[in-house]
Symmetry: C2
């Protein structure tokens, strides 16, 4: 039996999506592929809630984040990275690798972005962009991207959003909220195997791309856009065709259900997990008001060992959760409930956790 | 029924490899993954014929080529690109994108590298490296990499090999031949879906990597090597796990057969395709002495239309071949026979081509 992945990705892939992943991949310069790719793009635009094209890159989410840095900026550009954990720091490290003058504004692991602090920063300095994580899987915190974007837009600061773990699971309205770059990937809320990232840019961001002097070839977003806009839409290089076939199917499934229903379900899973955690007498790691509906971080009670809880659940119950990263190693456990979550998976996870704790 | 892909990739994926591609992907920080990834690395080292680590990147082959450029060089480094077609030019374009002082030595579409011209170049100038394509799919020509490397090594010029379409299909001995970087991908001779590239570096190349000043994060090969060398080997970012599972199986199959037998079969396919082409009264595009055993380029006879031949074969016989790229568009057709080729696939291709020609 498959291990039940209650992790921040890869997540469980529905049967029908797995079946498609296992088909012979199409050749990527054929009518079959053009139709598939065109339909995938239509689906993604509905999920990103954007009129602009969504570009498909064969890479993990980090590759998509790097693509945004390499395409929109020039060396020494001053940017602000609002970080609330591991993936905020990753965005900072990518910016630094490319020679940007990046400033890390660390709100603390377990906190959300504080709008007042952010506004003071934006008011007093002139940043080419603000980088921010929508859903920080390392801490189980969701930022209020809508309010963050409103604040940034007051100061005409473009907003670059890492929506790697959030898009398709919790509300995000790219155009309506005034977001300039949004990045996600295949293996989280989009219920597919890993291997693809997806990037959309606003008109303002496309203008920034005209001025960028950073090197890029594989991650050249202008070339990717040219591909999507062709009468026979394709990608500049051979893409992960099987994964494109999978994500097309998975996004069909999400859209059939309706995104509002998907968000409602996801919120319900979040609530149920938090309630169960509290019913066991455990404590949530972040404040409940900023707790993610996609992944729940739980403090490891004194005298318990995080790794032992995790291995017990994996070995005895076949349920995989994860531990803390960086400074939170050993201090928290994290239960992912993003993407494809069946009722039975939640129940098995609850039972596995209860059993693990009572066995220790 | 699946279209029969007689193309330069994606190629046909064997049933057992497809089955594995359609399984639930492992989580990439679990004992199951560590074992899988470690075994994949062992397989790849046997196929690259190298003692050094083979690094797995989630990207197309072009991403692997870019990784080599970004990791080994610095801006303004003078390099020589020996080009015999589209993919030689691509290597040149990547080098230029990264600000290298790249010189394109164009031997002509349809030619192989001329060793005397190459030696003169290397003798009279001081290049940081020579870039060369092993098997040029755009023209159906295979370079003699062993002799090219011997020539380059006389002048201490490191050799960077695009083996994207050759590795695992025709002989290549990375260490024995003195190659410094070798790049391949999952969807050609390795009989798997697209989505992964593989890169190995010589000790000399790893020393070059210490001095490189070009930006890299996602394609940082040092980080990838650290991952492979861990007690629990993994990748810096979430890899295309399903495709890793697939390539592990496909490389098991190749190694079970024995690489020498694989090469022999592949050479036989090449010979059979060329013989059949000649028996139809058609002309090979390159000289037969440099013709690839992995892909056959055929001149389109006067009064025939390449696109029509290709669509007829695809629509009437369900066999997909491809046309010419760039200056060869309309002038040649290309029949791929790399990776997984069953007897029946060859026969259907022959019959489809014969029928297409006689119908016109």
């Amino acid at each position: 039996m498959d291990k039940i992945l209650m992790t921040p990705g890869p997540t469980m892939v529905p049967e029908e999506v797995k079946r498609i992943s296992g088909l012979q991949p199409f050749h990527h310069r054929t009518p079959e592929f053009y139709e598939l790719f065109s339909n995938l793009n239509k689906n993604l635009k509905k999920i990103f809630k954007t009129k602009n094209e969504v570009l498909t890159l064969t890479s993990s989410g980090t590759g998509g984040m790097e693509a945004v840095v390499a395409n929109l900026f020039s060396s020494k550009d001053k940017v602000l990275v609002a970080s609330i954990g591991n993936f905020g720091e990753r965005f900072y490290n990518i910016a630094i690798s490319y020679g940007l003058d990046a400033e890390l504004c660390d709100f603390g692991w377990g906190q959300a972005v504080d709008l007042n602090i952010l506004e003071n920063k934006l008011k007093n300095d002139n940043y080419k962009a603000l980088f921010v994580t929508h859903n920080e899987t390392s801490t189980g915190v969701t930022n209020n991207i809508r309010e963050i974007a409103q604040t940034a837009n007051k100061y005409n600061t473009p907003v670059i959003v890492d929506a790697v773990s959030s898009l398709g699971g919790i509300p995000l309205e790219m155009d309506e909220w005034g977001l300039d770059a949004v990045v996600t990937c295949s293996q989280k809320c989009l219920m597919s195997p890993p291997g693809l990232s997806f990037v959309a840019l606003s008109d303002r961001a496309w203008n920034m791309a005209e001025k960028s002097n950073l090197p890029k070839f594989y991650f050249d977003l202008k070339k990717a856009r040219q591909g999507v806009l062709k009468a026979k839409p394709d990608t500049p290089n051979t893409p992960a065709v099987s994964t494109i076939m999978a994500v097309k199917k998975a996004t069909d499934m999400l859209l059939e259900k309706g995104m509002d229903n998907v968000y409602k379900n996801q919120a319900l899973y979040g609530k149920r997990v938090r309630e169960y955690i509290k019913s066991l007498g455990l404590e949530l790691f972040p404040e409940e008001s900023i707790a993610s509906d996609l992944i729940t971080a739980v403090k490891v009670p004194e005298n318990y060992n995080a790794s032992k809880i995790i291995s017990y659940m994996s070995e005895k119950h076949n349920v995989l959760i994860t531990g803390g990263q960086g400074p939170l190693k050993g201090k928290i456990i994290r239960i992912g409930h993003m993407g494809y979550v069946a009722e039975e998976m939640l129940e098995k996870t609850f039972e596995a956790l209860r059993d693990a704790l009572s066995s220790m």
